[in-house]
Subunit: 351 residues, 4 copies
């Protein structure tokens, strides 16, 4: 059994890691920490009655793998500490996601205190970096919006099919993506029947998208990203618009995606047919409710041949495939387990 | 492997049975039917990409166990057919839930065409009828409100602690409890920011509650039940008020519940302390979000010693412990498996 | 024009007072205060572009009428100050709602520093205290749950029709009722798909209900009240159960309510017929969406003749008829205006 | 008093027209029709107790102005009939919105039976066509997404500031925008915690946007529009991306919008400052909750100078400024009344 530790387990990422690891056949929770030690159920009522208690971070020792759900500075320090003690580390935060130091320091408005680690870390999108993850000691788990957009655009960039300077992404996020910390835009009377655009330009995840898509394109990709909080809980929908360089049909693009993700068990290309006579067309596009609670990403596609536009719709769970579950997927890969172990259950629909 | 068939699999109960059985280590889906055969994913988008297709009900043959999610008349007929073919049958509907024919026919406003089966059927609350379920061929799966209220009141009636003629229950239900059929009170613009009381007197589940609680009390119990749809999806909260016959404290009642459910793995008595200095007291009471997607029922308790009232708060998932999952629990029991097999995963919090 | 001041205008009560007074033909906003002076739109985005600024409480002087939306101690002090300066005062808080000092001090866990004011204050349910309100200097605006329950039970107690010791009320409240202050049970990821019972016994509004209903009954009434937060925004539904002392039909009770509220323009008795053949009966009961944003209370009724129970369903908007709008209604009455002035617009359905 | 008739008053558009006209100082409801005559409150519970009854369409005669909320074919026929009887007509549907017959017939997949009317009709965006509306007999009320996008992009196109061939608009719509007709994507268990993209390419409103923006630009504009249903009720947010042809700052664009809408009382340019130190920037952007129930459109702006993108965020109420209320605004203009009459109340925040 893999012994897993979780640092900062009182937030939603930590809670999801606990929930999934509890059910994992080859891993067990060695310990979990919180700045306020005590029953895990105080933070995660779904874990009531299991006798699971949080310990103080200072008491956390050992673990074959350690998941970090911490603010940036603490992440960097903890990563170093656990790596030196021989653990593998999966950082659910943003300390190691960017490969360019200048970019990272500009985006996060601080100096990075241990850039060697950032250089070592592997960006944890398994669909793109499988072999590197297999060999890694330190994983930088991707941002939720980033995962959805990268998976939703990767085949187009790889194929050099679209104008790489005009990739437009609107990210619709459930409020769990904003975390367990109380905040006015997540206060129910404010958001319950509302839509809250934020960081309309310059959202940090933009840089992750540009990094990975540039890598695939072999040239500098530019992503125009705007996020909006919507009154759902876990779901994320990235609506990705791109402009094809040559004529292409919906079937062409679906085929391209099917090929690209042929060996990716957690990405499902949603290739339902459009029904010509139907004036309200919604069946060919994936729903976030379909992947709630899971590590799946469903991707739908459409093409406006007349106007020259490709739309890809990428849905995932912000704390599942967009968060702690992809961390567990990376753990599986790092430890040579079946990549789908403990992660294959289907989504809670309806929810 | 137990071969399971599902009749009427296109609704939410059928979808939940499929979702849970897909992940069950000792059962497999032999077939599932719908009046509109075709891909299961057309109805249950979470099942996309599994290649699972619904067959026509006429083509359904065999199965060690058959789950029925059908209108009443069709349930009766199907139950007879599958039992005669040697299957065990778990009816998720209401055809066999009442033991008194006159009551059943009055409540359902029709004649029952096969009362022998109703006589044979075991009411599937495992916490009360474990041995009978073990021996049964035919299970009448309880109603969602009924399960919550019966579990929330059983120990009080068994102990003769409360006035059995003035049991007041308000049932708050998510809209999945109303089913997949379109209806105005479940139309999002109507219910999304609304509360819809319905069948304010005489709801059918009342009779199930009275039947089971009378049995426990050894005398006629009277339940005053009113349901309300609320804009959540799966959760049910039954707020159960009763008037104690003798002075009793919160601790007394918690103790009584703990004892009663000592051997019931799916009922968790929520016995968190009340904090005296806190003016906004919500932590001692269970949340429906904590049990979303599960077969658990969490029960909280409070006592107004000054006014003479016991409140029990019983939460479950209307299609989980209030529906298809308790059906799978009953299947486990009927086939001699571990009762918790495939059902032990914790709730999707937050959701 | 009546000059109105609002103290503590940054919360939901203050915002609603502003919204309604802006549209009132005979009143105008003289000033509004906040501990953080500045644009009102920082707190109430609906007021963007009006140039309305909050002043510091110390700068608030004058006003024919002053609305207080403050914590208890501050309310008491401010009420005294503004009354002495010659203003009429409408307290939207709870400082003056109870007429019995011992009860008040027990419930609010503090000593009351100015009980003379509490003695003078009129409890602002206009349907019960119209003449006293007309003559008052100081109004204690009722609690939101209290208003709904009192209006939903008053005719029954007045008529001595029901057992006054077993009045059971479940209060379902939208999250705006909890106020603008951030809190975990109002954090969207927690409540968006959840139900949060709280203060399951002993909620403060219980005492208001008992006070007013006892007055009507001419004997001590006992209310068994439990509140639950639900994921709606403004609506409140009080489900009121009572046990009739003599046989009574739905029509009898509807008639009783119609008579009682014959001169009450803001209470609408919802007397739609029940349709015998319908198995899903929801049309005869009022919806909170129907009264969103208004000063109306709709009351529905049903009677279980077989079991001996009356159910009254009372819906209102927690910051409208349950809050600031009833304050404006009381202002109208105190100043001899048409009681409905500025308050007659119908609810925002759907919302 | 202007006598107003409403044809097809049982839907959300009709209900909103009724709600607003009830409160209009210079108009009164002469009659309202439905295919199922009877109490208006059967469809619009907020109108309970007013004694307002729907008549059969065949019985509708007269009216200074007639609002049509009908399917296309019926709209065309009714418009002709009421115009010939001397009424002014405001069509809330889509029969007369496009000025190019070929485009209309391609988009609506039918032949238009009375194109003379379409030629005569004025497209009812008052901010662009004020004089024509003043003189019109027949108004084609704009689509909800169209209004938001046109208002959010008009100044940019008028100024020739952006690439008119790459206007990208994501439209997030509440479910009331889908109408009162029951449909699976609006069934609460499906949409309550979900996001439903639909008509991802080729949505009909695209053509309205292109028509009006081309007119402003003086050349063919191309709009890349994708709509998504979100679990809110009335709000619409159009996120509009455009690529500037020359360097431009946020202040420049805000200034441009302020000038363009200087005389437009219902458009509020949301020009709050960005706070440099804040990493979670949401205050500078408008919320749909701020304009719920109103005829206002709030527009926010941001500019990514580094990447070359302008984002405009346009929010309105799909049945208010995006529907029946703009119809009443047009009525005011057509009859020489103050344009804001009956429409100036501020939004129901929180809601």
């Amino acid at each position: 059994m893999i012994k897993a530790g979780i640092v900062g387990a009182s937030g939603y990422m930590g809670g999801e890691a606990l929930r999934v690891l509890l059910d994992h056949p080859e891993a067990e929770i060695a310990w979990a920490t919180s700045r306020t030690p005590g029953p895990a159920a105080d933070h995660h009522p779904n874990l009531y009655g299991l006798g699971l208690d949080f310990i103080h971070p200072d008491d956390a020792v050992g673990g074959d793998v350690v998941f970090l759900a911490l603010p940036t500075a603490a992440s960097i320090e903890s990563a170093r500490r656990f790596l030196e003690a021989g653990s593998k580390v999966i950082d659910l935060g943003s300390a190691f996601r960017l490969s360019d130091r200048e970019t990272w320091e500009a985006v996060y408005k601080q100096q990075h205190s241990d850039w060697d680690l950032a250089t070592e870390a592997v960006y944890g999108v398994s669909e793109l970096h499988l072999d590197e993850i297999r060999a890694a000691r330190l994983i930088a788990n991707p941002g939720c919006f980033s995962s959805a957009a990268i998976l939703g655009l990767a085949p187009l960039l790889k194929e050099d099919l679209v104008d790489e300077r005009h990739l437009v992404v609107d990210g619709l996020s459930g409020t769990a993506g904003a975390g367990a910390e109380l905040a006015k835009p997540a206060h129910h009377p404010e958001i319950g029947n509302n839509l809250v655009a934020y960081n309309v330009i310059g959202h940090r995840h933009t840089l992750e998208m540009e990094q990975e898509l540039s890598l695939l394109a072999g040239k500098k990709a530019r992503v125009h990203f705007t996020p909006v909080y919507v009154p759902v809980t876990r779901g994320i929908l990235d609506v990705c618009h791109s402009f094809p360089k040559r004529p292409v049909s919906r079937d062409d693009v679906l085929g391209l995606f099917r090929d690209f993700y042929a060996d990716s068990p957690f990405v499902k290309v949603y290739d339902l047919p459009k029904e010509e006579a139907v004036s309200w067309q919604y069946k060919p596009y994936p729903w976030v409710s379909a992947i709630a609670g899971t590590n799946y990403c469903f991707i739908g596609v459409d093409v406006d041949e007349a106007r020259g536009r490709i739309v890809t719709l990428s849905v995932l769970d912000s704390v599942g495939k967009g968060g702690a579950q992809v961390g567990v997927e990376n753990m599986n890969i790092m430890f040579g387990l079946d990549r789908q172990m403990g992660l294959s259950r289907r989504g809670l629909h309806p929810n």
